[in-house]
């Protein structure tokens, strides 16, 4: 079948969401770990900040990234009429 322009647009938006969330993932993972020594100079809730991020902060952000993705895609599915109907 031939995809419509709207379908192409849906996929492009999906790619944009994916790229942005992936960028955040990259920063809180690899940039954070690379500069962990420097980040440890700050203190947060009594923790050295680099330690806090690797032990807790980045993990919580991962959970949020996945939650936000599910929410955004739900909205996008409905907007572009490619959702599967209500199966919940």
């Amino acid at each position: 079948m031939q995809l419509t322009a709207k379908h192409e647009e849906y996929w492009r938006k999906n790619l944009v969401y994916t790229a942005i969330l992936l960028f955040i993932w990259f920063v809180v993972t690899f940039v954070e770990a690379w500069y962990a020594r420097e980040l440890n100079a700050f203190t947060f809730l009594g923790f050295p900040f680099g330690f806090y991020m690797s032990a807790q902060g980045s993990l919580a952000i991962y959970v949020v990234i996945i939650g936000v993705y599910a929410m955004l895609m739900r909205r996008l599915d409905l907007e572009y009429n490619v959702d599967e109907g209500d199966l919940e």
Partner: protein, 687 residues
């Protein structure tokens, strides 16, 4: 459609009711045992109750969920709600290593151990963004299914089957080892019998009901394991931080740990013990440098001491001691060299405690940078490996819809997060407790838990008074990582019933992971190899029956391999992740995101990724005895750092050099990209 909406909703509600009852029942069971302990039930019986009650429960769920339907057997009928699939994935994911080993790794490794915590959680972002929704829309039964359909042909499927079986098998051996260890420790049963009892429980379950039974058992197992992990940590945390959610408050405990580390580093008694180790290591090195001379001199020295003792007319016990050291002197050069090598190893104990919160500890800038690179390497390989392990990806075939698959990844990581953000907290709390209560206590009156564990298992806890001052110095304590989780209930001063609960939790973690892995292996053999490649006309009954038989065969082989107690299990687990990342991740993700990726790109890309990964491990890991120099100082566990990029580049280049995939394949890619496509002619899912 409306009746379907209705049934999913009621199904979800009754599940919530069942599992609430179940959780309440389990807590009541623990409380009854707690009372029984107070009125005199023995420790062995508490262990037996936990072992047989939980395994009986898992087998019972298997009997209730028995099935011979193909879709029920392989993908639980595709009606597992996101929330429950999340719990099941959590149990599937968290292995004996996570439950028992993780906190110990963090205790011993400090900051650098956090690479595992980050790697084993952040990988779910990749699952969510790149794989879960698309695999769910594809809607088949296994991961090789997707590769074969997308790239066409049996070569891709075969590479898929081999990779899936290799990484799952390596991983399942580690789980069965954990099962044997826990049951033998807490019930006194023999290792082999422990393996047998544990395995028979999960076999009844997965054999009767396949994915359906495994799913509902894994939900039950998650509930047990999270209660078991949290109870002692909350108790210990409240004792040291004053609030019942220690995860948020242990920053201040961490500061106190830092102060105590400085104190231990500067303490003259501690320095005295460390100097003993440094001297012994130096003596060992010197002896190894001139072995013949040292051997002769050492022998002459003990013999002379004996002769002197006899002529000098000293008390009998001194003569006996001198005789003993003559008898204990190494019989030949090989034994002597082994002894000296052991002595040089003591150099590690001559170092002051490692600062817990400090990243990338090393003697100079170059060593610190290598430590940082290896941290990144482990995070990288564990994340991409997570997103490529077939037993995890398979779980996202079981949700009712694409959107539910997306939400389900969220719940998966949420439930995993609960345990993984607790483990670093437990490590700090246990360290604080030991620095402040164990260090400085006298050998005559050690804390009760330390005395008990040092007696039971010197491999986990060894305390020896090297400088003979009768006081425990930190340098005199050797701790095995597994001690932290196993001994926490006693460190926190909880009754034995909580130790039994922790054992039941560890067992649940090991069994649930073993369940998922065995199912993956048996399905790869029965569905991908037998049904898709050997006999495509097999009836559904025959397919399910073959799958069940294979499950038992694989379990027996895995148990046999486990009984040989193969070497370094942690390395094997790490290797499984690197292999999965190199072989599976590039073709799976590029298959969805790049229409131009084709069959030859996938075949050569997977082969190249696997080849470089295996090559690097074999030529660098000490076990194989080749020991070529490391690239950039990167340890062989992180071989996926080379395998994955090479796989991506190879798929890219080879695909562009060969002809594009057919129109049908491109339509398949479009099909998986949209949850619902009007006018789409493709059959949406296998039933």
């Amino acid at each position: 459609m409306s009746s379907q909406v209705f049934s999913h909703k009621t199904f979800n509600q009754s599940l919530k009711k069942y599992y609430s009852f179940y959780t309440g029942g389990f807590i009541a069971f623990v409380l009854v045992l707690a009372v029984a302990e107070q009125i005199g039930m023995s420790r062995a019986w508490i262990g037996y109750w936990f072992l047989f009650a939980t395994i009986g429960l898992y087998a019972g769920i298997g009997i209730m969920a028995r099935t011979a339907e193909v879709a029920e057997y392989y993908v639980a009928g595709r009606r597992v709600p996101a929330f429950f699939n999340g719990m099941a994935t959590g149990a599937d994911w968290m292995s004996a290593a996570s439950f028992i080993g993780m906190a110990g790794t963090l205790f011993l490794g400090g900051f650098d151990g956090l690479a595992w915590v980050m790697g084993w959680t952040g990988g779910y972002c990749l699952v969510a963004l790149f794989l879960a929704p698309y695999l769910r829309k594809f809607g088949q039964f296994t991961i090789p299914d997707f590769l074969a359909e997308r790239y066409g042909g049996n070569i891709v499927r075969t590479i898929g089957i081999i990779s899936a079986i290799t990484c799952s098998f390596v991983y399942v051996v580690a789980q069965i080892y954990g099962v044997g260890l826990i049951t033998s420790r807490f019930t006194g049963l023999e290792f082999g019998i422990g393996v047998f009892v544990g395995l028979s429980g999960i076999l009844v379950c997965s054999m009767l009901g396949g994915m359906k039974a495994v799913t509902w058992t894994q939900v039950a197992q998650y509930i047990i394991l999270i209660i078991a992990y949290m109870t002692p940590v909350v108790w210990l945390g409240t004792k040291h931080t004053g609030i019942p959610i220690p995860q948020f408050a242990y920053g201040y405990t961490l500061q106190k740990v830092g102060d105590l580390e400085k104190k231990i580093t500067a303490d003259p008694k501690e320095q005295e013990v460390r100097k003993i180790f440094a001297d012994r290591a130096a003596a060992g090195r010197a002896a190894l440098a001139a072995p013949d001379k040292s051997y002769a001199e050492g022998k002459a020295k003990v013999e002379k001491a004996l002769a002197d003792a006899k002529t000098a007319n000293v008390p009998a016990d001194q003569i006996a001691a001198a005789e003993k050291s003559v008898a204990a002197y190494p019989k030949d050069m090989a034994a002597a060299k082994a002894g000296w090598t052991r002595e040089t190893g003591l150099a590690a104990r001559a170092a002051p405690p490692r600062p817990h919160a400090e990243p990338f500890v090393g003697k100079d800038e170059a060593a610190r940078n290598t430590a940082r690179l290896n941290f990144i390497g482990i995070v990288f390989c564990m994340m991409f490996g997570t997103a490529a392990l077939p037993h995890i990806l398979m779980r996202y075939y079981t949700t009712p819809s694409v959107q539910q698959a997306r939400v389900s990844v969220f719940w998966s990581l949420f439930f995993i997060f609960l345990l993984y953000f607790t483990a670093p907290c437990l490590a700090v709390l246990a360290k604080y407790d030991m620095y402040s209560n164990l260090v400085g206590s006298s050998f005559a009156s050690l804390p009760a838990w330390a005395a008990a564990w040092a007696k039971v298992d010197p491999g986990l806890l060894n305390i020896t008074d090297f400088n003979k001052d009768g006081i425990v110095q930190w340098a005199e304590v050797v701790i095995g990582g597994d001690l932290i989780v196993l001994a926490t209930p006693e460190i926190a001063g909880l009754p034995y019933v909580v130790s039994g609960l922790v054992a039941a939790g560890g067992l649940a973690a090991a069994l649930s992971t073993a369940d998922g892995l065995l199912l993956t292996i048996a399905n790869a053999l029965s569905h991908d190899l037998y049904y898709k490649m050997i006999d495509p006309h097999a009836s559904t009954t025959k397919r399910v029956t073959i799958s069940k038989v294979l499950l038992v065969v694989v379990a027996i082989i895995a148990a046999y391999v486990t009984s040989l107690k193969p070497g370094d299990i942690l390395f094997l687990v790490g290797a499984a992740f690197s292999l999965a990342a190199s072989a599976f991740f590039p073709p799976l993700v590029m298959g969805v995101f790049w229409k131009r990726a084709n069959k030859w790109g996938a075949i050569i890309g997977m082969a190249a990724g696997l080849a470089i990964c295996v090559y690097y491990m074999v030529t660098r890991y000490p076990f194989f005895g080749i020991n070529m120099p490391l690239w950039f100082g990167l340890s062989p566990v992180s071989a996926g750092m080379f395998g994955l990029p090479l796989g991506v580049i190879t798929i890219f280049v080879v695909s562009l050099l060969t002809s594009p995939p057919s129109r049908e394949v491109q339509e398949l890619v479009e099909h998986v990209r949209y949850p619902q496509l009007t006018g789409d002619t493709m059959v949406s899912e296998a039933r």
